[in-house]
Amino acid sequence: MKNLGNRDFFRNLVDEYKDKVVNTCYGFLHNFEDAEDTAQEVFIEIYLSYEKFKGKSTISTWIYRIAVNKSFDFLRKQNSKKRINLFKNILNIDTIEQKDIKSVEEYPLINIEQKERETVLFQALDKIPVNQRIAITLSKLENLSIREIAKIMDTTESAVESLIFRAKTSLKKLLEKYYC
């Protein structure tokens, strides 16, 4: 399989996109180590299959698409190992339980209450449908435009707007149930 022969070009690509890719993966995985590992897998995939990039989209669109796919591949592998928890999640599909709250990640300069709220928010994000989750994560965490998200998800801009709106509605319902 052909790949990027020019390592300098690849290094520049990594320098330019590594923070964005790590942040995108973090938005789905909520764990920094997992996000970094997955981001590395993304760049390895980019290196090995650069010839497959036919230039139909921008390189950033292609990279984000790989990042989203790799993140969900990771989640699928993780879920397949946790069959007991999967049954629990199916039974409690519309709720966030206090015991689901994992330990908060390290964030500089953010207070404890905000960290806890972010953890609750991430848990809620895990519960909404996949497409809604992708759309709202790319929009809010990566600040991508509707147009860019539509290209990444290979859909229309109006569909992306609809997904973001429905994601907010779903999140609101889950959070209201959690706080009651």
Partner: protein, 112 residues
Amino acid sequence: MKGNNNKYEAEKTLILLDSISKVNAGPFFQTRLDVKLEAILNNKTPFIWRFSLKPALLISLITINVIISISYLSSVKSYYALRENTLQTMVKNYFPQTSNGNLYNLQTKEGI
């Protein structure tokens, strides 16, 4: 009142979507990536071995070998059984009785 409180808390949490802190790659990201990439590029096993070690193919090969072995052993067994029968028939036809009145077992070289 409680319902309004729930909504307020939910809104307060939802607003964080607009201000979630971004994370950046660690300082050794590039170094770790280079190491992983070198390991992958240097560890190119021959295609035939990579292909042949895939579990489904391995299991198929083992199953086929087992079937061939069983059918070979069955055919060998039936060959010897057929040979025995043929010899016994020949003995019966040409030598109906041995000297002590018993049939002769060619394999054990004893009277039956």
